[in-house]
Symmetry: C2
Subunit: 432 residues, 2 copies
Amino acid sequence: MTNQSVRVGLMGMGTVGTGVYRLVESHQEDLSQQTGMNIEIARILVQDKEKKRTIDVESDLFTDDPDSLLQDPEIDVIVEVMGGVERTREHILAALQQGKHVVTANKDLMAVHGGELLEEAAKNGCDLFYEASVAGGIPILRALVEGFSSDRITKMMGIVNGTSNYILTKMSQEGGNYEDVLKEAQELGYAEADPTADMGGLDAARKMSILSTLGFHVGMNLDEVDCNGMENVTLEDIEYAEQLGYTIKLIGIAKQDDNLIEVSVEPTMLKHSHPLSSVHGVFNAVYVYGEAVGETMFYGPGAGELPTANAVVSDLVTVVKNMKLGVNGRGMVAPYKEKKLKKDEEIFSKYFMRLLVDDQSGVLAQITQKLAGYDVSIEQVIQRPHHLEHKAELIIVTHQSSKKGIQEVLSELEKLEHIEEIKSYYRVENGD
Amino acid sequence: MTNQSVRVGLMGMGTVGTGVYRLVESHQEDLSQQTGMNIEIARILVQDKEKKRTIDVESDLFTDDPDSLLQDPEIDVIVEVMGGVERTREHILAALQQGKHVVTANKDLMAVHGGELLEEAAKNGCDLFYEASVAGGIPILRALVEGFSSDRITKMMGIVNGTSNYILTKMSQEGGNYEDVLKEAQELGYAEADPTADMGGLDAARKMSILSTLGFHVGMNLDEVDCNGMENVTLEDIEYAEQLGYTIKLIGIAKQDDNLIEVSVEPTMLKHSHPLSSVHGVFNAVYVYGEAVGETMFYGPGAGELPTANAVVSDLVTVVKNMKLGVNGRGMVAPYKEKKLKKDEEIFSKYFMRLLVDDQSGVLAQITQKLAGYDVSIEQVIQRPHHLEHKAELIIVTHQSSKKGIQEVLSELEKLEHIEEIKSYYRVENGD
C-alpha cells in the first residue's frame, strides 16, 4: 500500500527553514510511520533563487513568487519560517482562505495578528499551529493547551529570550559589564547587530502575550504587556543581588488573581531556590503554576536551527494526523474569558531598591517614613559605606507592595535633599 | 443550546479519585467551554459504600459492583484510579470491549499490560490515556508523543519516584542516615509502610518502561529494565560525591545508540551542573535529549491528589474532544520499531568506586593494573587515610567503561589480598 502524500510549501530557507527541510528529509520514515502519510516539501519560497545553500536541495523547488505556493491547489500545508509581519500576515491569510493549513514559527506575527489569523483559520476549517513561536524547542504551548486543560493557571514566568539570558549569565558568571559582554556576543553571532528587541524585552513580551492568551483564555494584546528591558542592569546590581541570595534574570511574568490579569517583562531578582534561577546561557524555561498541579517548569533550547525546526515539524505532524482524521481546524479553543487587567495599584510584589544617600544621621529615618507613607513596608535594609566621601549606599528590600506605591514613593524619594541618586530598583520574586 | 453530556464512571475514590471528582465538579464551566460537552461523574466504584468521605458526594453515586459501571451502556468513559493489576486489567479489558474509553493513572498496570490494553483499545476504536501514570502532574507523555514527534530521542533520564528522592534529598541536606530518614518519612506519611517498590526502584522502573515504549517506539517490558534500588546509599557516599561535584540521585536512564537500547534504574552520581541534580524533595523531573531538540527538562510534582487528578482530567478532556470529533482510538501510534537491547558489554558509562584497602606500597599499582586489564581507564584517583589503622580509602572515577568490564573488574578486585572491601560503586553521569 502506498501512502498518500501531503504537499508542503515552505516559506523561507534561513536557519529554521533549513532545519525543517533537513528534518523532513532525514526522518521521512518515522514521519510516515506516525502519520500514515508521506510528507513532501513541494516548493520553497526564497528571496534569491541563485543563492548558495548549505544543504543540497533540488534547485527547481525554489521560487521567489509567493503565489506559486499560496495559489497552488496541490499544496496542502504552508510552513512559514520567513519572518516579517505585515506582508507575512497577508500571505497567511491568503493561504488560509485557500484552505491551506499553516504552521508558523513567527512570534512577531502571532503576538500582533494571532487572534485574527486563528479566527480566519477556524472559519476555513484550517489548522494554524505555532509551537515554535515561544521558547523554540520546548513544547510549552501543547503543555498549556492540553496538559493543563483541566487546571486553572494562575502564574507563568518565563525566561523566553535566550540572547538576553546569555548576556546576564555572562555578566554574572564572568563579571563583564553589559556593553562589553554584548559586543562579544555580537562578534560571536549570539546577539543581533541591532539588539533592541532582545535586550529591550519586546521579543519576550511577544512570547508572554502568546502564553497569556493560551494560559488565561483571554485575547491578550502585545501593548498590554508592560515591557522593561535589561540594558540598565549593572554588575553592581548583580553582585548586590548575589549577596542577598538572588539572581537577576529578564523574566516575563503573567499572573492572574481573582480573574484580574497582569503581564510584564522586566529584569527581576529571583531567589536562588527558584527553579528559573538556574537557567543559564541561551537556554529558555517557562515556569507554570496551576491551582491543581502546583509548580512545574519546562526547560530547553529557546532557539537554533534544529530545536526550532523540531517544534515546527512536530506541528506539521499534528496537521497531517488531523488531515488523516479529517478534523483540521476543529480542535482549537478560542479565548472565552473576559479580559480584565490589573491597575498599577492592584499589582503587588516585593521590590529591591538601591539608593546613594548622604551619610548622615536622620536620613534613613526620613526615607523609611516616606516609604511608610505609601504603605511600603521594609523587609530588609543594608547600609554600606560608599567610596565617595560622606556618601552611603542603601539597599532596601520591601515586603509585598503595590507597583503604584513603589513608583510614587520613588518619585518622592528623588526629590529628597539627602538622596543623591536612585541607582536602581527591581521586582523581587521569592517563589511564594 | 444545551451541551450534550458525557457520562463518566469513576473507579476508585482514594486520594486521586477524590481529586478527580473535585476538579470535574469545580471546573465544570471551563471544561464545557473547552470541550463543548458537559462532563458528569455518573457512578463511583468504591470498596465500602458507607465509608465517611472528605468531600460531599451524593451517596447514590456509590456502588461496590464493578459491573454497574462496566456494563452500563450509558457510561461513556471509565476513569480508573483504584490501582491493582490483574483484576483491574480485567475491568479495563471489559470496559474497552464495551466500547468505553479509558483514562488511567495506573503505572503498575500500564507497565505490565500496557501493550495488550492499548491493542484492545485500538481494536474497539477506544481511547486509552495514561498521562498520570508517569511523573504525576508533568505532561511528559504528551511531550514525547506530540512535542517530539519529529525528533529522534536518544536519551531520557528521570527522577520519577518522589519518595526516594525525598529521602536522598533529606540525607544529603541534613545528614541523616537512610534508616532514620526513612522512618521519619514513614511517620510523616511521605513513605509507605512497605517502602520496597519506591526504594528498590521498581516504581521508577515501571515508569521508565512506559517512557521507553513511547520515546523509542518499541514495546518495552518491565523485566527488561535493569533495576537497582537506593537502600544501600550511605551518607559517606553522598559526602564523597559532594566533594567531587556530584549529587547522588535514584535515576532512571533510557538510552538509545545506533538503535540499541538500554534501560535501567540505579543510584547515580550526577554532576552538579546537570539539570536533574537540583530536583529536590518529592519533585519529579524528566530530562529528554533529542537529536534535533537537544537538552530539555520537564519538572513538577510527581504525585499528590490534585497534580495527579489534573493529569487524569486533562486526559479526560482529550477523550471528550475526540468524542466530539468522532476520532477516538485513532490517534495512537503503536510501537513500530524492532527492539534490540544492549548487552552489558555495550553499555558504557563512567563509574565511581570506593574501596577500603591496605595502606601499603604497591596496592594502588596492583589495582590500576587490574583495571587496565579490563579496559577500565582512570579519570581520577583520591587516596585518603582511614580511621582503621594501616587502612586507606581509595576513590576511583573511571573514564567511559563497559558495564561488563566494571562488573568483572570489581569481582576480580574483591579477590585481591590487599583489598579489604568494595564499599560502593555508582554510575556517573556528567551530562555529556
